[in-house]
Symmetry: C2
Subunit: 196 residues, 2 copies
């Protein structure tokens, strides 16, 4: 009686194992230098075994890994506006300081994806412009509540905040002694009449 | 009579061609995903031909490419102190906006090199800490001339300036509409009593 349900659970588990391995390998070596074969070896199954779960091969694995991670971050931000949204960016950064692999994955893949021929090029381009728009929107909401320092322009504040976030992540990944979340909080505070 | 000199010139030219190809390929695909074979193909010679000029293979090519580029940037900064040093950082960034490949090379390689097993790991770690020290030194010199805004701490200003630089480069490479040099100039100005 448990046959079907057990098999389903086993399939879900195996999928999870494959995604974890793909995540680890992409974070370490990027997409181009990773292979389905190596992912299969990490899980202890055959390449055919991986393709049974992800028929689209390496690209399908990449897409699944990215969607899984982005869904987590977007869930944190859902429904937040203005100062709450900005404070959540700081919180996300605080969490990321405990998830070195995630930060490395995004840096590695977004770097490769600069190449217009990279399969994730559009994914990353759209993702970045979506984030920039959302942060601009949050700064605009704070502006409407007279919460921005004089002369602060929401779009500019958004792009600068994203640059500072990317930059602090880069220094942190490279082993410099920086506190990402604290750095972003102080940077955003420079635009606010009342500190976060 | 021109034999030896002609042969020498030809060798130097070939070395240059190989380095240019290595630069292009590393900038596009990073180090791990590049091969000596592909570099040879780009130049139109055999793999043995490349190894004749760079006996150390791919790693020797990487080292040569990085040293060539870093030497150029260091030449610009040599002998500069305080505000002059900071103004030169802005100038370097202005030049880099015309050298997309160089920016891409550093982002790509420094990203891979986060991995402690990467052959350029120590090179990039040492490079970043050398730059951080030099920028701290410049801010300290400005401080000694009472040129920093109250509360500015040179080490902190240095790391933040590097983060902003890395971040603006990342956004720019990913196609966002940012002016790297102008962004860095304005950011540094936030620390100075007199604008650059």
């Amino acid at each position: 009686m448990t046959g079907t349900r057990g098999a389903y659970r086993k399939t879900a588990q195996r999928r999870e194992q494959i995604l974890d391995a793909a995540f680890t390998l992409f974070a370490k070596n990027g997409y181009t230098a990773s292979s389905v074969n190596e992912i299969a070896r990490m899980v202890g199954i055959s390449q055919t075994g991986v393709l049974h779960h992800f028929a689209g091969g390496k690209l399908a694995l990449l897409t699944a890994v990215l969607q899984q991670r982005d869904a987590l971050a977007e869930e944190n931000l859902r429904g937040k506006t203005g100062r709450d949204f900005l404070a959540t960016l700081v919180e996300i950064s605080r969490i990321q300081a405990t998830q070195r692999g995630v930060v490395q994955l995004y840096r590695n893949l977004s770097t490769e994806a600069v190449d217009p021929e990279h399969p994730a090029h559009e994914y990353f381009r759209d993702r970045l412009s979506r984030i920039a728009d959302a942060v601009t929107q949050a700064f605009t909401e704070v502006l409407e509540q007279d919460g921005l320092t004089p002369g602060t322009e929401p779009r500019e504040a958004s792009l600068s905040t994203l640059a500072m976030t990317e930059g602090l992540e880069a220094l942190w990944l490279q082993g410099m002694d920086v506190d990402m979340a604290e750095g972003i909080r102080l940077f955003i505070n420079g635009y606010l009449t009342r500190a976060l």
